[in-house]
């Protein structure tokens, strides 16, 4: 997948004030890494869900998809819906999947909805 293909995701959010998304090919260091930033609310989710699913469906690189949520400070139900759609698309392609480093507020929502196991949450934050 070319840089231009990956760049479509970033371009789709460049006019959004409180949200940004970008996709990177990290090769064997993580495969397709989708980095989100800001408020993953309904508008943001609607703008990026189909693009993310399409990226995963067409991904031909290292067989892994990771969502970097370290810079997401708020997530709505549509945001979680986007993550589950991505998870399903990754499963269909036989790709490994993880959601990495969610902030406590985001992790709390995922826990309240019982989605942590389904979304393979990983955290690299050290305990204080």
């Amino acid at each position: 997948m070319s840089e231009a293909d990956l760049g479509v995701l970033e371009a789709s959010t460049c006019s959004m004030k409180h949200f940004a998304a970008r996709a990177r090919d990290r090769g064997e260091q993580g495969g397709l890494v989708i980095q989100l930033e800001g408020y993953f609310d309904g508008d943001a989710a609607m703008a990026v869900t189909a693009l993310i699913v399409s990226l995963i469906e067409n991904w031909k690189g290292y067989p892994q998809v990771s969502f970097d949520l370290a810079r997401v400070s708020y997530i709505s139900s549509l945001g979680i819906g986007a993550l589950t759609s991505a998870r399903s698309a990754a499963l269909q392609r036989g790709l490994r999947f993880s959601v990495d480093d969610p902030q406590p507020a985001v992790l709390n929502v995922l826990e309240l909805l019982g989605m942590t196991t389904y979304l393979s949450i990983r955290t690299s934050r050290r305990e204080e």
């Binding site: 609310d41 309904g42 400070s73 708020y74 139900s77 589950t84 759609s85 499963l91 269909q92 709390n108």
Partner: protein, 424 residues
């Protein structure tokens, strides 16, 4: 009463009625209505709001920071920031904590009300309970992921079944394959003995000619038949080449056949060469029960997983041979294999003059585990897997024409470029 006084009384009455109407509207609302001060402290809350949080008395909420009601205080900061920036927020998803510790999912909208000097005087806010909707969505998310997981497991088991069926076919054909390898191996062994014998003769010749003159050399050459040996060597090596090629071809066919195929294995494939490979592998199964007639047309290469297509040819070819064999006839049967192109698709047919398939089971022959063979002789997966390979994996078709007593003809059609295997 003076007109001014009457007018004022009417105005007061109108205002009182308006206030009562608005208060009733707030109190009777099914949704939570909140009035906050600029810092987010609750100034007023309606009955629906109190009930939503599992309380009984509004006074338990009034005076508390709204943030305390939120499951994620950090979300409240986001909410207030958006409110400060835009003067209003619409449908912000919140998670509220009930008095009993339960959670309520809501959509909160709010508007800043400004005083005469433009300063923020109050925040008017409404929360719609969307808990049932979120619970439904939650169930749907989990169901979708579980479905995708089940689908993935099914694909893995299917791939394993295909591989097991392949291995079963190879096991079934092992004797024939051994025979196919043994045949060239036989003449390679014989050639090897001859070469050793000739080498010994050449060594003897070389020892014998030491110190001889040209006349003696010529005599020795004749005596040891060196000219004959040199002439034979070329033929023997040519013969060995053929033997090695035949063994290598069988090994290559087996390797292609037994490979665990993947999407990456798609490549241009020669259907006619595939038919020849299947005939090589199944030779011993077919050769003693039927004569094979080939009527192969000129066909373009097809983008496919070659090992899978080979497996289909092999399944159908072995079925044809076994059908003929089941009749225990005195003379060999006939299997005709044709290929060609039609409307941008490559087709191949395998026709036998066996007993044919009864009409009442023709619709079931592609079902998994359906077999008419005796127990232990068929898994009932061969045609099912063949159908899956041709139709699901390659977007082609696999059909049969058959009538009892008139044999069967299986027809495979493949598009030159099959659809990508993404959701299978």
């Amino acid at each position: 009463m003076q007109p001014d006084e009457r007018s004022r009384e009417q105005l007061v009455d109108s205002l009182q009625r308006s206030e009562a109407r608005l208060r009733a509207l707030g109190e009777e609302s099914q949704d939570m209505i909140l009035v906050l001060d600029p810092a987010g402290t609750i100034l007023d809350v309606n009955r629906a709001g109190v009930e939503l949080l599992g309380g009984e008395d509004p006074s338990a909420l009034v005076g508390r920071p709204e943030q305390e009601l939120w499951s994620n205080p950090a979300d409240h900061e986001v909410f207030m920031r958006l409110l400060r920036e835009n003067g209003r927020v619409k449908n912000f998803e919140v998670i509220l904590v009930r008095r009993d510790g339960g959670t309520v999912f809501g959509l909160q909208s709010a508007t800043v009300v400004r005083g005469a000097g433009g300063e923020v005087a109050e925040i008017h806010s409404m929360v719609v309970d969307i808990t049932p909707r979120i619970r439904d969505a939650q169930a749907l998310w989990k169901a979708n992921i579980q479905l995708a997981e089940a689908n993935q497991r099914l694909k893995e088991s299917q791939a394993m079944m295909v591989q097991q069926e392949k291995l079963a076919s190879i096991g079934q054909l092992a004797a024939g394959i051994a025979h196919e390898i043994n045949n060239p191996l036989g003449f390679l062994k014989s050639n090897y003995s001859t070469l050793r014998r000739y080498l010994q003769r050449v060594e003897e010749f070389l020892s014998a000619v030491v110190g001889r003159d040209s006349e003696g050399l010529a005599r020795a050459q004749e005596e040891y038949r060196i000219g004959h040996i040199l002439g034979e060597l070329g033929l023997i090596l040519e013969d060995c080449d053929t033997g090695f090629r035949r063994i290598a071809q069988i090994v290559l066919t087996l390797r292609n056949f037994s490979r665990i195929d993947s999407e990456a294995a798609r490549a241009p494939f020669d259907i006619n060469a595939g038919i020849q490979s299947a005939l090589t592998v199944a030779h011993n199964e077919v050769a003693f029960v039927a004569e094979v007639a080939l009527d192969l047309g000129k066909v373009p290469l097809v983008e496919c997983v070659g090992g899978e297509i080979l497996q289909v040819f092999l399944n159908i070819l072995i079925n044809a041979a076994q059908a003929i064999k089941s009749q225990q006839r005195s003379c060999p049967g006939k299997i005709t294999i044709r290929s060609g192109t039609d409307n941008g698709r490559v087709w191949a047919e395998v026709e036998d003059d066996g007993p044919g398939i009864p009409a009442d089971i023709q619709s079931r022959i592609f079902d998994p585990f359906f077999t008419t063979k005796p127990v232990g002789q068929g898994t009932g997966l061969g045609l099912s897997i063949s159908y899956d390979i041709i139709v699901q994996h390659h977007g082609g078709s696999l059909t049969v024409r058959s009538a009892p007593g008139q044999g069967s003809c299986f027809r495979i059609e493949l598009p030159l470029l099959p659809p990508r295997r993404s959701a299978d």
